[in-house]
Symmetry: C2
Subunit: 565 residues, 2 copies
Amino acid sequence: MRYSKLFGKTIKIPPADAINRSHILLYQAGFIRESTAGRYFFLPLGQLVQQKIMAMIKKEMDKSGAQEMLSPVLHPLELWRETNRTNTTGFELTKVVDRRKGEFALGGTAEEMFVDVVRKLRLSYRDLPLNIYQFSLKFRDELRARGGLLRVREFIMKDAYSFDKDETGFKISYDLMAKTYKKIFDQLSLKTIIVESDNGYIGGEYCHEFVVESPIGETKFLTTSDGFYAAHQDVAKFKRDMVNENEPIMSMKIIQQPQWIKTMEDNIKHYKKPKSYFLKNVVYKNRITKDIIIAVIRGDLEVNKMKLEHVLNLVGQLNEASLDDLLRIGTKPGYVHSWGHKNVTYVADISLKTVTNFIGGQKEDETDSINVNYGRDFKCDYEDDIALAQPGHLSESGKELILKRGIEVGNIFQLGYHYSKKMKDATFTNFDGQLKPYYMGCYGIGIGRTMAAIVEVHNDKNGIIWPQNIAPYQVHLIGLDLQNDAIQKQAVKIYHNLLEKGIEVLFDDRIDIRAGQKFAEADLIGIPWRLLVSTKTGENVELKKRSETKTEVISIEETIKLINQ
Amino acid sequence: MRYSKLFGKTIKIPPADAINRSHILLYQAGFIRESTAGRYFFLPLGQLVQQKIMAMIKKEMDKSGAQEMLSPVLHPLELWRETNRTNTTGFELTKVVDRRKGEFALGGTAEEMFVDVVRKLRLSYRDLPLNIYQFSLKFRDELRARGGLLRVREFIMKDAYSFDKDETGFKISYDLMAKTYKKIFDQLSLKTIIVESDNGYIGGEYCHEFVVESPIGETKFLTTSDGFYAAHQDVAKFKRDMVNENEPIMSMKIIQQPQWIKTMEDNIKHYKKPKSYFLKNVVYKNRITKDIIIAVIRGDLEVNKMKLEHVLNLVGQLNEASLDDLLRIGTKPGYVHSWGHKNVTYVADISLKTVTNFIGGQKEDETDSINVNYGRDFKCDYEDDIALAQPGHLSESGKELILKRGIEVGNIFQLGYHYSKKMKDATFTNFDGQLKPYYMGCYGIGIGRTMAAIVEVHNDKNGIIWPQNIAPYQVHLIGLDLQNDAIQKQAVKIYHNLLEKGIEVLFDDRIDIRAGQKFAEADLIGIPWRLLVSTKTGENVELKKRSETKTEVISIEETIKLINQ
């Protein structure tokens, strides 16, 4: 490609609202332009990179046995009604009505569509496992688009959906995808951290995000310094340290308490014990049934609502209780009891087992209890992990958890029977002739965000430094002194020579631009090899890697060898 | 790919509503499935073909110097307002409103978007000519989708837009695209007829459709038997034969006429002359200004409203006049005069010069004129080609025009200044520093429809016959007697051998399916080379081309040579 003819040249002034390096550099180097907020044009350079990233992903997906197909992006709304998604993700859904009053959703993800096409094909157990995927446009009606390609409203996503006979089969499919993703991101020169997360469906073991550590990332996660454990705060597990295991167990007592004690801080001041010695109650309400749930936890810990919802199998259904809710069960703020309220579900965090002789649990105006021991003096309906992990907590293997930020470039997760049980006929014929619902998983990679993440990681003060395998061109050939006919001819000869060898070349053939500007533009665009032809290079070229500072004058043949290495 | 694992196998029963071969075969052979009417899933086989067609088109577009990019499919409605397209194509436009009340159109074509990105980049004359294109989803809110992939509501289109300094530059860009399209369709094994057409913008010389002749096509056009001329009926030109050039010119007279003469047929009966001897008037009204236009034409010809609109530069603005309109100019149906009505624009078809001594022109209840000679006795405000060509007319080179049908797979046309003058700042800096609007053209190919056209042309009673370069796989390897371990091993060995040689193979590895069914499925899918491994083939394979009936048993090496030829 001759740079003089390239649509989308470099520009000196960054976009007014840009903060991130990837946004600034992709704009200035001529890879992208904004249409409206969160919707981007990919200029020729940007589209080349996007295509190379997709080709790389396709190669590995195909190797894994997944099959590429393509689904429409206007999803019949009746499918979303089958799974009740019109309600649960209503805020993100963009509805389209056609002239025949047909209702559609602009696809944000395509679970229903893939289940629909799979059920149309009436598969048997012999067709399984099945993993089908597509590269297709996705639409997200985000309130705030930000950061160039990092959070957009329209983008290409590789979304894959696995269909298995059962959970055992799914686990194999899942592990295969996890490995495939690792390979993909490795080849894209992205060091990813596999972060446990929660998709709201099943959560836990089979739900991971692939995150590129970055101070500008929107994903916060907790990890150990050795990186062996990484999880979203929503799901992170941690070790509950024993608080006072050597203290002798005492008999529970109801004691008088001064009236000025209202808060945890008052308790600490009065009893001269740290937070962890006190019982804490947090009250929730089921949005649908209006049932009241009281979470009981050690005083120094916070309740993790998402964990609590999973324990109760009420994902997305809990709200914090209001004053009215408390009055309804006969109590008020600060006076909730850890046991004894009628028509209430009690859930204990496992931390209750780490303290001997708790203080609190049935505070009244002038009394409270002390020496309360969980299991002996009260017992909740559920006992589970419902506490929010915090930086400084220890992982289950005993390493300190630290908070990090990153860019989520991919995710893989278990859907289980969530869609296949809600959608009619989403079944396969098993070997015994019985119809069974599919056990599903899904696997996404956002192409534009991946591109931005690569730029966030691979750049310096002068511009982008593309990894060679996804650079828009492998060689940036700069001609200097081109007003000299002999040099002009030599540069063009080398350009064609490289093209014939199958090397992708961007040829800066402009006559009236000075060397300094050409070098600066080359650095900004970030093509891995810079070749220079000038009065000084004769039959040879001056070679420089974008990532290094040294230059050398060598023959074209040697250059080609180096590039093809 | 092992056929046992392929998502989308063949099926015996065609879709209930399918009439066209391409619809039936692409469905039965497992290439496509309908989501809702006019919106299709491309199953893995279909997606492979779609990608190969796109790669082929990309190769030729890139060779022509065009640059691929990508635009969002949600087009800000404000851009469509700039060009007034919200009104003119309102019926096809699907509007989307997001949660911030942002209004968008689901892109049907992308002229505004490309002008928008080009104006953002502020080009100069040095950047021109420029041709940028994309493969992107297009949405058409068609009232009736039909014929499988032939008329759909959502599809991938290659749309290109050229930007030139002026009309001279545009013509070069246009001719280059015409040649490129011819090459593309040749390589796709599609014999295309280049049909002159009308895009409603400028019409005439620089507007062509690439049409594959087919009895089920929706495009009707007139062509000579040698194919040198082909045009949509809307724009087709034809020779006006001289009717009676040797007759002596007589003086015009107003004569008595029996009252029973009302219609053309009555005239013919009374004067015993054919239709061509009579003057005919057709009245139109400008929808916006309410002005009246009278088209005067030889009695045996019909007025072509589109030609008339172009003559008057009133594209899309004429309606046939109503009775009220006639009364307003002081006449009534059957009594319109070929001259003399006040406040009327008269347009003559050039056929008026082919008749000596016309009958008619100022009919009243009991009189009419005879021996009327155009130019001597009356003259219209405009004289031009406004007649509708019909089968049986002669082309301008004197060959008979015949009516044909076909599938429009591509189109190329002049946009001129239509968009660049309506949209603000759609200008480049000329060599003299002045800002000048772009002279534009646009160029489309529908991918799915092209795929359907290929199937319409390349099939037999047993199924599809894919051209090798876009077949989903090059080789359909059939294993028979696979319950025999040795044959099983041999078949798998050959499968891997072919894959290693870079040959794309669909391997029918099913054990419990009989030979007859495997052959029938292979014929239906239409992969160009069928290879058979069985107890009879030993170290060799039996080779058969899909397009031929003969088989031969040869070595794998020879087979690979043949395939790679």
